[in-house]
């Protein structure tokens, strides 16, 4: 897994950064806007950024300008005027009128945003309404200038009153202002989005690191606990084995004959000793399972063999209690890859429990059947159509006719040390470790276990195990 690189610095954003006109507007859209102003009012429009870059240009060469440009001195004068217009920046007032020697005019208007100058636009050239004749400055550029031609061409340029130009400028300014505001808002929103995500990520990473540390610490504690349990169980078992061994020797009369009462006492000592040993063995199994050191040696086995051995082992116990023990194995049971020793442990434990909770006259049944292909798992499982055909499982049901397990308890019975009846005066003994060990052993075989209700009464423990060669058999 790739570990996310922790970002330790708090993300920053400069909400008051200096804005650039070219960052706030879309150039093509700006050109369209200028074009529409030009079409509407006939006055050419140019938009320049703060440093003088031309951002949009909606203009057409006027015939009079073309005429002037046919004269060398006219070309020079025209170039000088256009150059001056392009570099002039209106002062505080925000508007500047620049006259051309031809009598035409330019209006240069500042584009400010949040009281900062970010660019300007140029309206013109246009012919001021008050001009009634060709000015001498135009005629002076060359002796060859034809007065009448110049006049007719000059008067083809759109004429505009100062108020009109001012109004056009105001409209354009308002339109630009709206665009700038929207652009700024969008810019800030996207920046905030980005930085907020980064900041949230930083915060989460920090929190995750703290959780990971806590988790590691807990895991270490858990490991220590399991180690402790394993050590203590082992240390308890050693002297206990001696106690049981010497008890056996006493019972066999190696140290001299015993009277009946002594035999009975020694018998009790041995029986309780065995019980204690079993409990310690369970604790040891539990801690091994928890620490992951329990080894499961899988080999090819036949489930029928395991189950008949289990039944054989449990028969004396069942007979003593007056419970009938039955084994029903489907003839077509497939082979398994499993640890026979561990499976025996699972089914002895389940059978032992079933016999314990079944009153005299009842039955305990082991029923092993293969599960139909494609019926394994639920339809809602992911990739069902692909996985189901490759899954092949068998199922063992341990059915008793005992007191049953209330619905609410059916999950909890697999928790370590859990007892349905946890009162000190409870009828049935046990450590409460058996089923949790069973569950872990079944899971170690990639199987599942759950409890169902018996019919008409009792409990049914259902164990499913993957068949050898199926996709989920390890």
């Amino acid at each position: 897994m790739n570990e996310a690189k922790p970002t330790d610095a708090i993300a920053t954003i400069d909400i008051d950064a200096t804005l650039r006109l070219e960052d706030l507007v879309d150039r093509e859209a700006l050109v369209e806007l200028c074009d529409s102003f030009f079409t509407l009012f006939g006055i050419p429009v140019r938009v320049l950024s703060k440093d003088g870059t031309l951002l949009a240009d909606a203009t057409r060469e006027q015939e009079v300008c073309g005429y002037i440009n046919t004269f060398a001195s006219g070309r020079a004068a025209c170039g000088a005027t256009v150059g001056a217009v392009k570099i002039k920046d209106p002062d505080e007032e925000g508007t500047l009128i620049h006259p051309c020697f031809s009598g035409l005019q330019y209006r240069i208007v500042a584009i400010d945003y949040e009281a900062r100058r970010i660019g300007r636009f140029i309206l013109g050239p246009y012919l001021p309404a008050e001009v009634s004749d060709v000015p001498s400055s135009l005629l002076d550029i060359d002796e060859a200038v034809d007065r009448e031609k110049a006049k007719s061409l000059l008067f083809k340029v759109p004429r505009a009153k100062p108020e009109t130009v001012q109004r056009v400028a105001r409209h354009l300014k308002a339109a630009l202002d709206l665009i700038l505001f929207s652009g700024h808002k969008t810019l800030l929103t996207s920046q905030m989005h980005l930085v907020s995500v980064r900041e949230s990520f930083r915060e989460l990473t920090e929190r995750q690191n703290r959780l990971q540390e806590a988790y590691d610490r807990l895991r270490e504690l858990d490991r220590l606990k399991s180690n402790f349990l394993a050590t203590v169980s082992h240390e308890l078992r050693t002297p206990l084995t001696s106690i049981i061994g010497y008890g056996e020797m006493l019972a066999e009369g190696i140290a001299g004959p015993l009277n009946d009462e002594q035999k009975e006492f020694v018998g009790t000592i041995r029986e309780k000793g065995e019980q204690l040993l079993q409990l310690i063995q369970s604790l040891l199994d539990m801690s091994k399972l928890e620490s992951g050191t329990m080894s499961v040696r899988k080999e090819k086995i036949r489930l029928e063999d395991v189950l008949s051995e289990v039944v054989k082992t449990l028969t004396p116990n069942a007979r003593k209690k007056g419970v009938v023990l039955r084994l029903e194995c489907d003839a077509s049971l497939p082979g398994l890859r499993a640890d026979p020793e561990r499976l025996r442990q699972v089914f002895i434990n389940l059978g032992d429990n079933a016999i314990k909770f079944t009153p005299s006259g009842g039955t305990v049944t082991y029923r092993a059947t293969p599960l139909e292909q494609g019926r394994v798992g639920r339809e809602s499982d992911f990739g069902f159509a692909l996985l189901a055909p490759s899954r092949s499982q068998l199922e063992v049901r341990v059915i008793d006719t005992g007191i049953g397990i209330p619905l609410a308890e059916r999950e909890k019975v697999f928790d370590p040390f859990y007892q349905v009846d946890s009162s000190s005066t409870r009828e049935y003994g046990g450590t409460g470790l058996g089923l949790s060990i069973v569950k872990r052993l079944v899971e170690a075989h990639d199987g599942t276990i759950h409890v169902e209700e018996g019919s008409p009464r009792g409990a049914v423990f259902v164990v499913t195990l993957p068949v050898a060669g199926s996709a989920e058999a390890g």
């Binding site: 708090i10 920053t12 008051d16 949040e114 009281a115 800030l188 929103t189 905030m192 900041e199």
Partner: protein, 258 residues
């Protein structure tokens, strides 16, 4: 605070903080409404569809300062260029109040010069007010700013609602506390200007103490806030407005560092 000598501008950042739905955005709307049009830009709100602030609201207040009349021969301060003055930008932000926007709150709070804490006067909101203030404190701490060093004014908003903390109670609390306390009904605009100038006064006194801003701007120290008020089109005298403060200290006092 950002000082740009070349651009001749000073930018001060004020942040309106507080629990969800306490009226931060409403304060900004009222401020926008009640100040002269040529002294502010558009109110920018970045909100979700249900009218809750998503990232922040921002109101830029923009005017020139430093062209205040001076007595001839007055040498008590040396402006950089007495003829020009500086352009002053006060950017007022709100944070999103909802708990889940913690990261955004911290981002908006970055570089704040002063904070107006907008509390909800309703008794049921007492816990939310306190939680939001603790959130402010921890966010400031993450930004390496001590809450003691941050100019903060408290506004008890929604005075027009029933079931609110009474004036007497607030007054009593205000007089024991450090932060100046104002009352407001932002929806009607009442108390909004007073709270704002309370914050500007406190923030200015800190900036002045730390950077001698008045020299840079070219203005008498005590003239700054009244000039700002005039530029913003506020007719009332600042000193009169500040009298509505219920307690706390309107002048910044540097914290003694141990």
């Amino acid at each position: 605070m950002q000082l740009n000598f070349a651009g001749r501008e000073i930018t001060i950042k004020l942040v309106y903080y507080g629990p969800a739905l306490s009226g931060k955005t409403t304060n900004l709307r009222a401020l926008h409404e009640l100040t002269a049009d040529d002294s502010h830009g558009r109110l920018m709100t970045l909100e979700t569809r249900d009218d809750r602030t998503l990232f922040f609201d921002m109101l830029p207040l923009l005017f020139r300062a430093g062209d205040a009349p001076r007595k001839p021969g007055d040498r008590s301060y040396t402006p950089v260029d007495p003829t020009m003055g500086m352009s002053l930008r006060i950017k007022v932000f709100t944070v999103p109040g909802q708990v889940l926007h913690g990261a955004t709150r911290r981002l908006v709070l970055q570089g704040a010069d002063g904070v107006a804490f907008i509390a909800d006067s309703q008794l049921t909101e007492t816990e939310n007010n306190a939680a939001s203030f603790l959130d402010l404190r921890s966010n400031l701490k993450e930004l390496n700013v001590s809450v003691k060093e941050m100019p903060i004014v408290i506004q008890f908003n929604k005075r027009d609602l029933p079931n609110i903390r009474t004036d007497e109670e607030i007054k009593k609390l205000a007089q024991q506390g450090r932060e100046p306390v104002f009352r407001a009904s932002a929806l009607t605009g009442e108390g909004v200007i007073e709270s704002f100038f309370g914050l500007l006064n406190l923030t200015w006194s800190k900036l002045e103490a730390e950077h001698q801003l008045s020299r840079i701007i070219g203005i008498e120290p005590q003239e700054f806030v009244p000039v700002a008020a005039r530029k913003m089109g506020i007719k009332r005298e600042v000193s009169v407005m500040l009298q509505s403060c219920l307690g706390g200290n309107l002048q910044y006092k540097p914290v003694e560092k141990a």
